[in-house]
């Protein structure tokens, strides 16, 4: 793959006099400097990888012996288990724990370049040090021009689909993150460059007629909420069960809000009765508490059709360090307890009454509220409050 063509032929073609041999010698060396460095690095890399691969194999054999396993049984999963056993780690970050993997997976890859016969790198972007991303930028630039030209030529004409003349539909997706782009292009670059790429992409996507480049743009987009399949943040809608004795359907779920954990059970064919820790709805003296508790019924228009039973407790009281502290006497009172029960009720109603799933979701009742009490900091009276500031 590496073709180092010495320049006998070029020397023969040159019209310079023999004393120019020394010049062309130096010029060959100059071009070759980039190449030389590259070759040296490449050779070093190859040697290193060989050594590491050999080490890895030896390590595998030793490990198999230690764990009294057959070498052929020792696949990557077995290696992981063995390492976890031999080097138990208390580190919280999984990426910081000891790992034993084939060097190809762990060690940094070496960028391969093609060089032409004169030792010049193929592709002018080698010397930019970030060839792939600059290549991407160039590509976006070219496509931007072509999209604008396409639109200018075909606007108003009937030979082209109407849909092609619109902007690209990118709803439901977002630009891939910098890390993902680095992996995709297998190249490292700075965040400023990433920002420039996104700016260029945004401009292209905003042009009318960019629908023709939909496929290109989609390669660099990932769906939002990609990590979860569901559109619900927090708990999933529970399954409906039937009570054996009374033959009524019910759904049960455990949720929390702030420090209150609530186990909520909603039964079908009810009269709108509440029993939260043994209390009825009229025992909630604040109007806001009752509003919160009834919110799922108001939105799903099922006032008085279901019965709710709930029990609550403090999450802090059930943590392992709780016995060393004074137990909290009551769970969240006016707002947090009703909110926890509301979340559970909404999920159960969504299970028992599926027509109301969309309204409940869009009103925000099926979302687990992720907000917790902010910790108080040293040298301050609270989480955010400061002591009275004196100028001197």
């Amino acid at each position: 793959m590496l073709r180092i063509a010495l320049t006998r032929s070029s020397r023969a073609m040159s019209s310079t006099s023999p004393p120019a041999v020394s010049e062309s010698d130096t010029s060959v060396r100059k071009i070759g400097k980039a190449l030389e460095t590259y070759l040296k690095n490449s050779q070093q890399h190859v040697a290193m990888m060989e050594k590491h691969r050999a080490d890895f194999e030896t390590g595998r054999r030793h490990l198999a012996k230690m764990m009294s396993l057959d070498i052929h049984e020792l696949d990557q999963a077995a290696i992981d288990r063995a390492i976890q056993y031999l080097f138990p780690s208390g580190l919280t970050d999984p990426k910081a724990r000891p790992v034993m993997r084939p060097p190809d997976e762990i060690l940094p890859k070496f960028q391969r370049f093609t060089f032409d016969e004169e030792g010049k790198p193929e592709g002018t972007r080698f010397f930019t040090l970030n060839p792939k991303i600059y290549g991407l930028l160039s590509e976006i630039g070219v496509k931007t021009q072509s999209v604008m030209k396409f639109y200018d030529e075909h606007v108003g004409s009937r030979s082209v689909n109407r849909s092609d003349l619109e902007t690209a539909n990118l709803s439901g997706s977002q630009w891939i993150t910098a890390d993902k782009m680095k992996k995709k292009l297998s190249e490292k670059f700075s965040n400023e460059l990433y920002g420039q790429v996104i700016i260029a992409f945004e401009h292209l996507a905003s042009l009318p007629g960019s629908a023709i480049e939909q496929k290109f743009l989609s390669e660099f987009r990932e769906p939002m909420t990609a990590s979860t399949d569901s559109k619900l943040f927090g708990l999933a809608i529970p399954n409906v069960q039937t009570c054996a004795e009374t033959n009524r359907r019910y759904a049960e779920v455990t949720t929390h809000c702030k420090d209150t954990r609530a186990v909520v059970k909603v039964t079908d064919a009810g009269k709108g009765k509440f029993s939260i820790d043994g209390l009825q709805l009229h025992d909630f003296r604040h109007l806001q508490s009752r509003e919160i508790l009834l919110a799922p019924f108001i939105i799903s228009q099922t006032l008085g059709k279901f019965d709710v039973t709930a029990t609550t407790d403090c999450i802090s009281n059930s943590l392992p360090e709780a016995p060393n502290r004074e137990p909290l006497k009551r769970t969240g009172g006016m707002s947090a307890l009703p909110r926890a029960v509301r979340h559970g009720t909404a999920l159960c109603i969504a299970a028992l009454h599926p027509e109301s799933i969309e309204p409940l979701r869009l009103s925000g009742l099926l979302t687990l509220d992720p907000r917790k009490n902010e910790r108080s900091k040293v040298n301050q009276p609270g989480a955010r409050a400061k002591w009275i500031w004196k100028r001197r």
Binding site: Q288, A295, H343, S363, G364, L365, R371
Partner: protein, 222 residues
Amino acid sequence: MSTKLARFAQKRWISSTTSTSNMYDPRLFREPISDVQELRKPLDADDERNFLFVKAMKSDATPVFYRDHVIDKLIRVCTKDGEKETSRKNVLSALEIIKRRQYKAWAKATDEEKQSIELDPFVIARKGIRNCHPLMKLQGVTRGGTTYQVPFPIEEPEAEFRAMKMMRDICRLRSKHGETHFKDILATELLAASQNEGSTIQAKQELHKTCEANRAYAHYRA
């Protein structure tokens, strides 16, 4: 020296905020729908909320039949020391007082007059706050050591807030010594404001006068 620093701060070159991280990732969460009518309508196929999470509903935003944006905002503005329940009690009692007064007038009125008397306290409160919306606000602009009160244009939400704040401060001053309660004074103010009378309307008109008088400084608005 201080003016330079002030200019710096104005242009926000120096960040003065502490952590402003949101528990809700702004790329993944959208605001919930609070209106019951809108909830019933199906979403557009390419509406982004089909693919995104929705934030949890706020405690005071349950879509009850008497949910009113102006009254809720007034409750929040009148809250003191985080005691929103007290504020809610005061404001709703003020609405009740308005209704009782109007009812008494309505009961006494003749049949023609009955048509013109408004009994709904929410409508009266909305009208009252609306009448108190200032059209401009005064902001201090410092030039060469002197701070000039410059009139600036104002947006609807801010105008609403300023109206409520004016009313709240006037009511607090008057109820300071405890003879009359905040709810009674608030009721009187809201009723008067809905008729374009009362101290809050007066305060608004004085603000307008000052804005008019300081018209010359408007070119400091940069």
